[in-house]
């Protein structure tokens, strides 16, 4: 007997709903938030399935369909190609490159899981809830979970994992993500060890994302874990157990019979590391492997539109930032004039670039970190389009009617060399002569990041007049906006500083409702369009390729491979 959804909803709002939840429900019912935005946001603040169903029903939508559990063929070992190979030690808190995080996430799990559509699902935590202002978050742990060595998962394990990731003395790679959010001591067990409560430094509406695979370093390890043990296997809770790891060669995984999620369809996973995209492409086409951890259309055209191959992708915000260094000191004066920066941004034909480099699996960027896929972004900000006439006029007004010459420095990494060539050809149309200097990623990110005469160290990516830097997926725009755009941000390749932007950003990050968030991202985005310290030509989808045998694999925009535990080989 179905009760009236509106009545159910009101009951929920009056009896259980927090202020945050009630605001979201209101936003949805008044049309401020779309169905997709609502579902995404609801999963973050931990709204219960009952409340979600009621709200959807009230607004006239059907409840989200439960994924039909259909019989899958069990058995077999999946042969996975991971490219590029891990470049760092196989140690979760030090993960910082695709090779390490892809390998680690096959056997490891997180408190929550970010899905392909950017909603959150329970994983080692079954539910979570913030306090009124979003400064405290309580996560209820899944009961009965065992590590692969047989010991049970407890609150102490979660606390130890987050302590390792937030302690500056240990120096993990996730420190920047937790900076200003969580201090190492501020985690406590509650509810007889069944709940973990995080006491945050500031209100953080997106905290549950920071506990998901998006922060791939926060892989839950036992409290007894000692650095160096991960590569030996057996320290995780996931569906697969790491049985062997050889740096630069590969890793092997067997089914974990004690997994809380049941029996994985696959008997195991054999991962091989590749360094050359042509080699991994040929390996998939010749049937030597079943799945490639990441592919790019620009590099592996042969896989797209091929009848033997399926392309799997997840919408996200991996992107490139073309930064123009704003500095009067160097001989790069043109970029101190924002009209010049706008002009360069106006030369790009973004839809054409997306077609050429991604075969459409990307969305245009609008020179701001507030990507259109984030619910918090203001959808009314006008999209920047190619306009050569205006670009020429702006250059002329700035006194560069005849153009100027500048060197673009960047790394040899996936499609970046191609993007650099397209940018150079586009800029040439308005008289800007761009010389390319494409170096290895290691050289590009080498050197110091602070100190020296400029306070920006010696590294090319923070000190060259014009450069392109790669950015991975983020579940929320906060880290990129504060580190690469705010005044004195540690990743600010442009050296941009505008108090008005800083103010708008701070207001956004403290805002808890979608309406308020959109208001401030709208202001911030418009400021960035006018100032244009950075060009973001596109946000692309995480893209993978598999043989037709692979079924049930769902990609994650960050490149983690947790989805393998639900995958089978037809």
């Amino acid at each position: 007997m179905e009760r009236d959804p509106l009545k159910r909803l009101d009951e929920y709002r009056l009896t259980q709903g927090t202020e945050l939840e009630n605001t979201l429900i209101d936003e949805f019912l008044t049309g401020e938030a779309s169905r997709a935005d609502f579902l995404r946001h609801a999963s973050v603040i931990g709204l219960s399935a009952t409340a979600i169903g009621a709200a959807l029903g009230t607004a006239g939508y059907a409840s989200p369909a439960r994924a039909a559990t259909r019989a899958v063929k069990a058995g077999g070992r999946l042969r996975l190609g991971i490219i590029p190979a891990p470049a760092r030690p196989m140690e979760p808190h030090l993960f910082a490159d695709h090779g390490t995080l892809a390998t680690g996430s096959i056997c490891g799990e997180y408190l929550t899981a970010t899905n392909a559509d950017n909603t959150l699902s329970p994983s080692l935590a079954i539910s979570w809830k913030p306090n009124k202002d979003g400064t405290q978050w309580a996560f209820n742990l899944r009961q009965g979970v065992k590590f692969q060595d047989g010991s049970p998962l407890t609150a102490a394990d979660v606390i130890a994992t987050f302590k390792r990731n937030t302690d500056p003395a240990i120096g993990g790679s996730a420190l920047s993500a937790f900076k200003g959010v969580l201090k190492p001591g501020n985690i406590q067990a509650a509810n007889g060890g069944k709940t973990v409560v995080f006491y945050l430094d500031a209100p953080t509406a997106a905290f549950p994302y920071l506990c998901s695979n998006t922060t791939y370093q926060a892989l839950i390890l036992p409290s007894t874990y000692k650095i160096g043990e991960f590569a030996k296997g057996g320290t995780t809770t996931g569906g697969f157990k790491l049985t062997s790891y050889t740096p630069g060669v590969g890793a092997k995984f067997d089914r974990n019979p004690g997994w809380w999620g049941g029996k994985t369809p696959l008997d195991g996973v054999d991962a091989t590391y590749y360094t050359d995209s042509a080699a991994v492409t040929a390996a998939l086409l010749s049937g030597q492997i079943d799945l490639i951890s990441q592919v790019s259309f620009a590099d592996s055209r042969a896989l797209f539109g091929n009848s033997k191959v399926q392309i799997i992708s997840a919408k996200g915000t991996p992107h490139r930032e073309i930064s123009m260094l704003i500095s009067t000191a160097a001989a790069i004066k043109p970029f101190t004039d924002r009209r010049v920066r706008q002009a360069l941004a106006l030369t790009l034909d973004r839809p054409a670039i997306i077609k050429q480099l991604f075969s459409g699996l990307a969305v245009p960027g609008n020179d701001s970190p507030f990507a259109s896929v984030y619910p918090s972004s203001d959808p009314t900000v006008p999209q920047r389009k190619q306009d050569l006439v205006q670009a020429k006029a702006l250059l002329a007004k700035a006194g560069y009617a005849k153009g100027f010459q500048v060197t673009l420095t960047t790394e040899k990494y996936i499609e970046i060399p191609q993007l650099a060539q397209i940018l150079a050809a586009s800029a040439k149309k308005v008289g800007i002569d761009i010389k390319l200097n494409i170096i290895t990623s290691d050289a590009y990110y080498g050197g110091t990041y602070d100190g020296g005469a400029t306070g920006r160290g010696t590294t090319p990516w923070l000190n060259t007049p014009l450069n392109i830097t790669d950015y991975g997926h983020r579940a929320v725009p906060n880290v990129v906006a504060s580190s690469a755009f705010k005044s004195k941000g540690v990743w600010s390749s442009s050296n941009y500083a505008n108090p008005a932007f800083d103010k708008a950003y701070d207001a956004y990050s403290a805002a808890l409702t979608l309406k308020q968030q959109r208001k401030y991202t709208g202001i911030a985005s418009r400021i960035l369009l006018a100032d244009t310290p950075v060009i973001i030509p596109y946000f692309y989808n995480w893209t993978m390729a598999a043989s037709k045998k692979v079924t049930g694999y769902k990609a994650s925009a960050i490149g983690t491979m947790t989805g393998l535990s639900k995958t089978s080989l037809a």
Binding site: L285, A302, Q418, I439
Partner: protein, 298 residues
């Protein structure tokens, strides 16, 4: 033991010419070269590429750097070699690409020949401890695969045409020094050197004025052989991401940028023509070397 010390082509180091006959011999050499088919064919092909290297994009049907929307079109009457992933005309790129290859490789060879000849002359003429010590150093450098040292040094110094020229030049100095040394050892026994020593001429004078002109034959052969190797080495390094910067139409860069497109057997034209260009140039240089070799040997 010539085959062991000389990995290039196996010529006889003792085949140096006696100075009184030098002029006549040189004239005879040119006459013989003109009769050598290998030499003529090789020279013609090299000259063809030199022409394009000098003119660059002046006479190519299209601008080799111009991007169009005609992306990855197969060869046709409008684009003879097809277009690449930026819609650029590959025919024009292959022709204009001669420039960068014929800039870096010969420059590196010149560096190597100059240093190698000086070092070899000193080793062979001075002899004694200097020779022993330098020989061991040369041995040590030869013990490392070229690509390994080049990659290590280029990673350290950053890659540009200049570093590439000096890295390849310095590495090739060792084998050249070895060859020149062996040739000089043969010359040292000859009357004219001993006469000069009796006259009281100083070492540098004997080395560079008396001996050097008489060993030019082997040095020229060595130059052509090393030029071939240099083109190859630079191609390999460019393939690994060192060396010339895009959007240069450099042949190895074209191959390196496009070979990932090959996997399904499609888009073969983006790679094949640049390969043919390298191949014809290297073969032509080898033909010239062979022609010279035969003449020097006789």
């Amino acid at each position: 033991m010539s085959a062991m010390t000389d990995d290039a082509a196996g010529f006889d180091p003792a085949a140096g010419l006696v100075p009184t006959e030098a002029k006549i011999a040189r004239r005879e050499m040119v006459r013989q070269l003109m009769r050598s088919k290998t030499f003529i064919v090789g020279t013609l092909i090299v000259l063809f590429w030199v022409f394009w290297a000098i003119t660059g994009s002046a006479f190519t049907p299209h601008d080799p750097l111009e991007q169009t929307s005609e992306i990855l079109k197969a060869p046709s009457s409008s684009a003879w070699f097809g277009t690449d992933q930026f819609g650029r005309d590959i025919f024009s790129r292959v022709l204009a690409g001669a420039q960068s290859t014929l800039k870096v490789a010969p420059a590196a060879t010149v560096v190597a020949i100059t240093l190698g000849t000086i070092l070899g002359l000193i080793m062979g003429f001075v002899g004694g401890f200097t020779d022993e010590a330098t020989s061991r150093l040369v041995d040590a450098i030869l013990a490392l695969p070229l690509i390994v040292i080049a990659v290590v040094v280029l990673t350290a110094l950053g890659s540009s045409s200049i570093t590439l020229i000096f890295v390849i030049g310095l590495i090739f100095t060792s084998p050249i020094a070895r060859t020149v040394r062996a040739t000089v050892l043969g010359e040292r026994q000859l009357d004219y050197v001993q006469a000069a020593q009796l006259r009281g001429e100083r070492g540098p004078y004997i080395m560079f004025v008396e001996i050097l002109p008489n060993i030019m034959g082997p040095i020229i052969v060595e130059t052509t052989v090393r030029l071939g190797y240099a083109i190859f080495a630079i191609a390999g390094l460019t393939f690994l991401g060192f060396g010339v910067q895009p959007p240069s139409p450099d042949w190895s860069l074209q191959i390196s940028e496009n070979y990932t497109l090959l996997s399904a057997g499609t888009y073969w034209w983006t790679v094949v023509f640049a390969c043919l260009a390298i191949t014809t140039l290297v073969i032509a240089v080898n033909l010239v070397a062979d022609g010279l070799q035969q003449v020097v040997d006789e």
